[in-house]
């Protein structure tokens, strides 16, 4: 009896620590089993040659040595860089549209929904619509080009253009996403500060740059995070629009990993894992940056 009350007291005394821990427990558990453990497993499998069925043979860093000389891997890596760089265009584009739509005129909700609409579509649908748009003979793009007297182009069939064509398709929903983030951000902009800025004679670009943008910093940060992640995990659009082709020119790391490990002609689990590890390390740079800047902000907020 005395021990029970003693325990009771201990729980009660430490409840400020215990409660969050208990709430965290299921999440941490799932995160460990479904995220952390598979990541470690990928590291492990990447050291083996394994077809997913038979015996796995340990080959050390053999898979990574092969990656260094693999031209398809090099192309995938470069395409990832292109995706990262160009996908970021969604942020200024989203900001621009958000500023444009942040007015009070009749029917603005309708316009906002129309601009947001592409983000609701499945990536597969976006991919299909854009591949019809790009079709070499029947496509709308070439109809427009030939109307204005230009030569027609086969965007998805041209190895130098195809990746850019897919990124353009990806930017459509991503811009809508960034727009909605900025629209919510703009709601939180302090009208008194704008008033104060106006009294001091700021308007146009100066107002945007010195008064509005600093207040949109949280929105920009989230937009940056989701865009970077979106760029690195680009897969569905590529699969739908070109299937990695023509001759492998639109592959990115995630698609190449899928091809090598899981697709019809693949089943090199070790090699696929090695690609996954490289992709993970690239992501880790960004994840590290995100975590660090969030930690910094939290610390600043507590002070």
């Amino acid at each position: 009896m005395t021990t029970a009350t003693h325990d009771m007291n201990w729980v009660r005394r430490n409840r400020m620590t215990l409660t969050p821990l208990l709430f965290l427990l299921p999440g941490v558990l799932f995160f460990t089993v479904y995220v952390i453990f598979p990541i470690l497993q990928s590291f492990n499998i990447s050291l083996y040659e394994w077809d997913g069925l038979g015996e796995a043979t340990y080959i050390g860093l053999g898979n990574y040595q092969e990656l260094v000389t693999d031209r398809a891997f090099e192309i995938s890596l470069w395409n990832n860089v292109k995706w990262l760089a160009l996908y970021l265009l969604a942020i200024p584009a989203g900001l621009f549209i958000a500023l444009f739509l942040n007015q009070t005129i009749p029917g603005i909700r309708l316009y906002k929904s129309l601009f947001f609409f592409p983000f609701v579509l499945s990536q597969v649908v976006v991919g299909l619509v854009f591949s019809w748009f790009y079709l070499p003979r029947e496509g709308l793009l070439n109809a427009v080009l030939s109307f204005f007297g230009f030569d027609t182009i086969n965007v998805l069939g041209d190895p130098t253009l195809a990746t850019y064509g897919i990124i353009a398709a990806g930017l459509w929903p991503q811009t809508a996403y960034c727009m909605i983030l900025y629209l919510t951000g703009l709601n939180a902009v302090d009208p008194e500060q704008i008033e104060a800025g106006r009294l001091d004679g700021a308007k146009g670009w100066r107002m945007l740059w010195h008064v509005i943008l600093p207040q949109l910093k949280p929105a920009t940060f989230i937009a940056f995070v989701v865009t970077i992640i979106g760029a690195l995990r680009s897969f569905d659009l590529i699969s739908v629009m070109t299937n990695g082709g023509p001759f492998g020119s639109t592959r990115v790391l995630s698609f190449y990993m899928f091809e090598k490990a899981l697709s019809e002609y693949g089943f090199r689990m070790g090699y696929g894992s090695a690609i996954a590890v490289v992709l993970f390390l690239i992501m880790l740079v960004f994840i590290g940056y995100f975590l660090w800047s969030m930690y910094r902000d939290e610390k600043a907020a507590r002070r």
Binding site: L53, L156, E264, Y265
Partner: protein, 417 residues
């Protein structure tokens, strides 16, 4: 309705001589079939097969699960390891090697040796790995050049027998403002078909198989000769533009609209052409013409049924394999109302269809070199994927040949160890 089908099934069963063996075994329990026959016509056939087999065996429940054909190519691994069905579809030759080596396919050599599968001797080779058999074929189909007969007549052309005639024909077609061949190479394998034929005609079947098994070099003079022949067609503008953007179905309208006059394809293309409104007077078929003086080899991919090595009901599975390969069932499922392809049983009758008859004739009498499966079934999977990508690139940028061959040769040295 139900009664009449049951009666029909019974007659089929008795004529096939199966009723006796089946009742003797008294099959019971459940037979789980996983099939990739997901297109509408094959799906109906498979459902019919399952229902008929179910009706023949009162003590047996047949459960059929139809999986999307493309999806099955990657699902099969999980299906066979996690919860293996009794019977399932796959492909012959090298495509089954990884699973056979992993011990997932049941060895049914005893059925082949014991005379349970009469009439299948000609296709035994495609089911054999290391002297043992791992399944039964249920259908195969010829490849060849399907062409617009009406346009050939209009231009005064006849079916070519040699490559020179082919090129002469093609020149006239190009001069008339059309393309000679449609092709959609987005999913790569169609380019593999062209390579199979160019290589088998230039260097012969045996060399083609040496290349498939990794014993010949991609940078050899023979392979270069193949690509040089192929290039003649590419340079004269024989193929439609932008084919790397189209799937094989998306390339069909060029043929249907008469913008391209021929399609090198498997016989499964015929129903699509008929559905698109072409009559048999407008389409015809000829064997890929002779190039060098070598025995002609043909592509005739074989689709198959197998038993999982961990199957719960192997007795019923074996009876089903026997059933699907029996002459009557073969005639029925491969007939014009069914798959519209070639039956594998020598005692089965070939449907009264222009294309099936021509294909049967060609494969029985005019494929003296031998019968290949197809690029992505004869070559190991990884070589096939690297290879077909190179072939597609060659068809768009033939000048990259040196680079492509070098890449394929280094892939060969890595893959065949």
């Amino acid at each position: 309705m139900l009664k009449s089908t049951k009666a029909a099934v019974a007659t089929v069963a008795i004529t096939a001589g199966l009723a006796t063996s089946a009742t003797a075994e008294d099959l019971s329990g459940t037979l789980r079939i996983m099939s990739d026959m997901s297109n509408p016509a094959p799906r109906a056939i498979m459902e019919g097969l399952a229902a008929d087999f179910d009706a023949m065996h009162p003590g047996l429940t047949v459960e059929l699960e139809v999986v999307d054909r493309e999806a099955w190519k990657s699902q099969i691994r999980n299906a066979l390891t996690a919860n293996p069905p009794d019977v399932f579809n796959w492909y012959a030759a090298n495509r089954m090697a990884p699973y056979v080596n992993a011990g997932l396919f049941e060895d049914i050599t005893d059925m082949w040796d014991g005379g349970d599968l009469p009439g299948l001797d000609s296709v035994k080779g495609a089911m054999t790995i290391d002297g043992k058999q791992y399944g039964v074929p249920y259908t195969y189909y010829q490849w060849g050049i399907y062409y617009r007969e009406d346009i050939f007549n209009e231009l005064g052309l006849t079916e070519p027998a040699t490559f020179d005639e082919e090129i002469a024909n093609c020149q006239k077609i190009v001069d008339s403002g059309r393309k000679c061949y449609t092709i959609g190479s987005k999913f790569l394998w169609t380019a593999g078909g062209w390579f199979d034929y160019m290589n088998m005609r230039t260097n012969g079947f045996d060399f083609h198989m040496k290349l498939a098994t990794g014993q010949a070099e991609w940078t050899s003079d023979e392979v270069r000769a193949t690509f040089a022949n192929w290039r003649k067609l590419i340079d004269m503008g024989a193929f439609i533009d932008d084919h790397q953007t189209y799937s094989w179905q998306e390339a069909l309208p060029f043929f249907v609209n008469g913008e391209a006059t021929a399609y090198l394809m498997g016989n499964f293309v015929v129903p699509h052409l008929r559905e698109a409104g072409l009559t048999d007077d407008q389409i015809d078929f000829y064997q890929f013409p002779k190039i060098a003086d070598v025995p002609m080899g043909e592509d005739a991919p074989t689709d198959t049924f197998h038993i999982a090595s961990n199957a719960p009901n192997k007795a019923a599975a074996r009876a089903f394999l026997q059933y699907v390969t029996s002459p009557d069932v073969q005639s029925k499922i491969n007939g014009p109302d069914g798959l519209g392809q070639l039956p594998v049983n020598a005692s089965a009758s070939v449907a009264d269809d222009e294309f099936i008859k021509q294909g049967f004739e060609m494969l029985s009498n005019n494929a003296t070199g031998g019968i290949a499966q197809f690029f992505d079934r004869d070559f190991p999977a990884e070589m096939a994927s690297v290879g077909m990508e190179g072939l597609q690139e060659f068809m768009v940028f033939p000048d990259n040949l040196e680079d492509i061959l070098g890449r394929l040769e280094s892939a060969r040295q890595r893959i065949y160890k």
